[in-house]
Amino acid sequence: MAERATIVVQSGDMDKLYSSLIIANGALAMGMEVCMFFTFWGLERLKTGGLEKGPLSKMHMLGLGKWMVKKRMKKANVASLERLMSDFRELGGRIIACDMTMEIMGIKREDLREDWIDEYAGVGTYIQQARNSELTLFV
């Protein structure tokens, strides 16, 4: 059986989502099975049209910092979050949405990109996934 990676995406910040998706795609590319568990502010990014909406974790400066970073990323030809997400799905990456967060924040399934999500679940599912993983991260 392939080695597993499990990533908790708790932050909705743009730069942290980049880190998560790049690591996730790298792990898939190198033959691991990958599961991303989206919770709290991370779940906001799974809303329809929400993927690119996150602020920068530092130096956001009311959007000016994010605008500058995005400009530099474009110049360096960094892939968009949309593309990284679509690659992640194409390579067989799985996504679990935290159903407790959905309840707290009043998020309904139809608010989310349901085509990206394999499962709506809680901490028990995460633990079962994580205890069988060689790599676990909380971002």
Binding site: G26, L28, V78
Partner: protein, 73 residues
């Protein structure tokens, strides 16, 4: 036995690795995949992925900023 060419010139981390993996997934056993790129770190990392996937690395040629990697699935 087919030969598949993947051109990732100008692409940076993690795209060369992702595109290589996509090609390897669609290839049949025995097919040759040739990856052409310009991202220095990927020249080292694609062979690492080939090893992790237990496939055969046929050759790595060229400079760090203009390389060709051949893999047999």
């Amino acid at each position: 036995m087919a030969e598949i060419k993947v051109v990732v010139r100008g692409e940076i981390c993690p795209v060369p690795l992702i595109e290589t993996r996509k090609a390897l997934r669609t290839a049949a056993p025995g097919d040759i995949i040739e990856v052409v790129g310009t991202h220095p770190a990927s020249k080292k990392e694609i062979p690492m992925a080939v090893e992790a996937l237990e496939l055969e690395l046929l050759s790595v040629e060229g400079s760090d900023t203009d390389w060709t990697i051949r893999i047999r699935r």
